[in-house]
Symmetry: C2
Subunit: 233 residues, 2 copies
DNA sequence: CCTTCTCATATTGTCGACAATCTACAGATT
DNA sequence: AATCTGTAGATTGTCGACAATATGAGAAGG
């Protein structure tokens, strides 16, 4: 629990969007559970107006589904959706890597190499491989995405798809990819970018993501994901 | 003016979303104009509640920008955004073409060939090249997208990006790509898909979209897009 | 015992009003 | 004259209540 409940935003609707997103990703609101507007409004001490605006946003983020006059439910995870999401990532982050190879500055390249070295050192020192893998991984990918300098791409990846990706990672947390292997792949991608080889960078990024998708797929098949947690009746 | 104002949906908010999207794309609400909630609510005969929910959706669609306590404005078009959007299309529709090559049925292939033949016949018969180009083009792309069978991809392309793409096309309507050239490219893409050559299909689709982006870019440079139209004071 | 219809209940959709915040204009000050 | 400040007006954010719709339990009938 790092970022605690104290989120002060300009508008209640924005606050609610962030909070609800977090609660869904973390499983506080179990997968597939019904969302009662009066109940949630009471829980957060707000009226239904801003709450409904937040729900509209969550729907476009793909975190809940809403049906007119029936209500909203938290989405459920399934393998097709997982694979679809990662295929989309493959296309978009592949393009991001290609653009990064064209546009990234030498300084950013240096910083990325530093990041990978830090990650390597962290791996050598700690046994807490999952934590290191998790954050190093995210950081690397986010930097490549931003290096593309394509605002549309950045927005879809870091806002629209991000929550979904985190959910799938969370619910398949048991079997994570080998962080050392991931690090090697990151290194290869960065080399391609540093050499301004856009084609290669795209290819490697695609394979990297495709491989991650396969691992998650296997994890889901074993887990047979269904159970949320920490929900109140 | 084909689909007239009569849209009956389950909820006022959904109606408003559709109407406002259409009005923005068609220029009834001029680019960059401020959106007054009381005024719009009065115009449509609804209260501000559903209207605000629609505005939240329009914001996520990238058609308006909202600032807390300040209000909403229709977006403005600029070249960077256009290029970013089309680069994203390139990545995503390229992937769609690749997936289509793997997954499309023989019957769908036949239908697509028929579509292209109809398009050809229409071009030979009519001088109204732009109309034919417009609709034939859209239809072809939408079918490829759906043939990918990737729901996430379909959703982002046909819902999140669609309105934006239509706007750029409308505001650069003067100089459209040569429809016969576009048709040739479509034919080549479809051949690749029919032959199950995913790599080639992706490559050709990317080039096709990249070329369209270049033409739109030139059109925007000439037009120096700024003026909306048909708006009331 | 199962099916179907009815009605009560709860939930969602919508509205009008109030509170908080920003914008613009006028006046004062340097 | 230019800049700053303060107030008035308007706009956005939020709230509680009412209307419309779906859900579920129970009765009636087969």
């Amino acid at each position: 629990m790092d970022k605690v409940t104290q989120i002060k935003s300009a508008t209640l609707s924005d606050d609610l969007t962030q909070r609800l997103t977090a609660e869904i990703v973390e499983g506080v609101l179990p997968l597939g559970s019904k969302i009662s507007e009066p109940e949630l409004a009471k829980r957060y001490g707000v009226s239904r107006g801003p709450l409904r605006e937040a729900l509209v946003k969550l729907e476009t983020l793909g975190l809940i589904t809403r049906t007119a006059n029936v209500g909203a439910r938290v989405i459920e995870l399934n393998i097709e959706d997982l694979l679809d999401t990662y295929t989309l990532r493959e296309a978009m982050e592949g393009m991001a890597a290609r653009l990064a190879a064209e546009l990234i500055s030498e300084q950013e390249v240096a910083e990325l190499y530093q990041l990978l070295e830090d990650h390597q050192a962290h791996l050598d020192a700690n046994q807490d491989e999952h934590y290191a893998s998790q954050y190093g991984n995210e950081d690397f990918h986010l930097r490549i995405i931003h290096a593309s300098q394509n605002n549309k791409l950045i927005r879809v990846l870091t806002q629209d798809l991000y929550a979904t990706i985190r959910m799938y990672r969370r619910y398949t947390a048991d079997s994570r990819p080998d962080p050392r292997q991931a690090l090697r792949e990151h290194k290869a991608i960065l080399d391609a970018i540093a050499n301004r080889e856009g084609d290669l960078a795209e290819l490697l990024m695609r394979r990297h993501i495709s491989r991650a998708a396969n691992l998650l797929r296997k994890a889901m098949l074993q887990n047979s994901i269904s159970q949320g947690n920490t929900g109140q009746p």
